[in-house]
Symmetry: C2
């Protein structure tokens, strides 16, 4: 049997998750190695599917550590499942490489498999091609029928929440690009990790399934992503800028105006933004309180005619920023 | 609401298949426009998933007509479903573009949607990013539980078949690259179309579900792809070179040696290669005979120890070619 270099690359990914757990999923009838993977979806479960492409120089710095890229390329995909309240299941990975670098492939795939194993996921297939470096991941999750969180369910009077703190990822990117100087190495590292190793809020998404009226993950920045909820739900919103949660790490080194800009339009925080009917606010505290990540009420859903408005106390504040758009920067 | 150019691109693809049929699939609970698509898989159906990436300059000529690319990018993915005997269902499309060209996007997406509609498929999501031109498609199909065709079921004595004719796609590519001169414009066009507009053998795959013991689609050439069946089934094979089916179009302009080389290792024919137990040979004639595409028995499965051998009559023939490998050319 003749093997090309092409096959050698594929071997980095054809592990059947043997890297750590060694146990392939029982709902995978046929994994990597045939024309298609074959998968079982249990009764009363919906399949949730999302695709993300990451291009070198656009979505990540060409100098990125392949281990960080292996983590992040999957984490941003997991974040889409989190926003639907879905359980992670299977991954298809299409990887395009300019050349073959064993060290790079080993580091990338080790890191990817560590995160796959953490979430009990299985790599079910993909493609390996030659070309400018880019990655396209299609993630598959499962969610009980009727329980998925969408962007369309927000109603006037619902409260608007976010998980975690906002703006840290943009601060971490600024550090990496030497636009922000941080002398304290612990603070520096924590912000950089928020950019390179975002935590997908899978547990929070699952906990919100029956409680939130709408949800989205914050990939492009609060302004841009909250607008998606407002458009899908035909609503407006009032956001209290004084309630935006910041990390103490960022606030030690960043002026309040810059922090606000990064929180609202920096992008890549991969926290969840969700809306909660008044009647579920107590249950939210019960559901999220023990998961180890903060969450903050930052505003309230308003009539569509009001649009998206920002306040400090009772005073409106005008902002002219928008979310991250790869084609407009 | 602010729209970036980014959103404009997405609009070419957010049609809910309204282009022709207008009827989205009933098993799509939620299509394009949220963090994930939500999909229903019926009881007693398995989900079949396959991913293909096409990179400009590697998998298609940079000068390709976007309408041809729209067709072919989906057709090669459909061919993977055909090889499993699966029914086409949903598509995720990740498209990376160097810049925005409305004419290109309109032609590409019109052609893609025409083929989606033909097979009753729905585009359920994807990603649109900036970078060097490439496409990654993840296709989803459905197949009755226990009926999927795999590469692993071939047994000693089973007969080896292929659909259609082999080598035409390589001949068509040679014409496009001006390595082959064909004066007859009808012949020329028919061979070029075999390269640009391969016909996925979906109907044949469905008809073979209960009859073939193994199947694969011919993307890399018969030698390379038949070897995949042999490896997965732990078998050898005897192939009769005199039985290889050629089109009369190709044979008018191509020497027999070149025709054989293209048939065995040219790649991109997207015909099916499948194996059939003796007892099912009559049923195969019934099942495939009315589908309008020829099929030919080209050999027989042999013990693993024999490897893959080629014959003319009773004489063995030595060949040293292998299949198409993007990294070795």
């Amino acid at each position: 049997m003749v093997y090309g270099e092409f096959d050698l690359i594929a071997r980095y990914f054809n592990r059947a998750n043997a890297y750590k757990a060694g146990n392939p999923r029982r709902d995978v009838e046929l994994g990597i190695g045939d024309d298609c993977a074959l998968l079982t979806v249990a009764e009363k479960q919906l399949l949730a599917v999302s695709t993300d492409t990451l291009v070198s120089g656009v979505h990540f710095l060409p100098t990125i550590d392949p281990a960080d890229l292996g983590y992040k390329s999957l984490a941003v995909n997991l974040s889409d499942l989190a926003a639907m309240g879905a359980d992670p299941a299977w991954l298809s990975l299409a990887i395009t490489l300019p050349d073959i670098n064993s060290e790079w492939l080993a580091a990338y795939s080790d890191s990817l498999f560590t995160l796959l194993d953490y979430y009990g996921m299985q790599l079910i297939g993909g493609d390996t091609t030659r070309g400018p470096l880019s990655l396209t991941l299609t993630i598959h999750g499962l969610v009980p029928t009727g329980r998925a969180l969408t962007r369309a369910g927000a109603r006037i009077g619902d409260w608007i929440y976010v998980t975690g703190t906002l703006g840290d990822s943009a601060a971490g990117l600024a550090i990496l690009q030497q636009r922000l100087q941080v002398s304290d190495s612990v603070v520096r590292q924590s912000l950089v990790l928020r950019h390179l190793r975002p935590q997908p809020r899978i547990l929070q998404g699952q906990a919100l399934r029956t409680l939130a009226s709408a949800a989205i993950d914050l990939s492009d920045g609060l302004i841009s992503d909250l607008r998606h909820i407002l458009a899908a739900s035909d609503c407006g919103a009032r956001v209290q800028l004084d309630a935006i949660p910041y990390s103490s790490a960022m606030m030690q080194y960043v002026e309040p105006d810059q922090a606000l800009r990064w929180a609202l339009s920096g992008g890549e925080d991969y926290e969840l933004c969700f809306t909660v009917p008044e009647i579920n606010r107590g249950a939210i505290d019960m559901a999220l309180g023990q998961l180890g990540v903060g969450y903050t009420c930052i505003g309230q859903i308003a009539p569509s005619s009001e649009g998206l408005r920002f306040f400090r106390g009772d005073n409106t504040v005008e902002l002219n920023w928008k979310g991250y758009d790869h084609f407009s920067q």
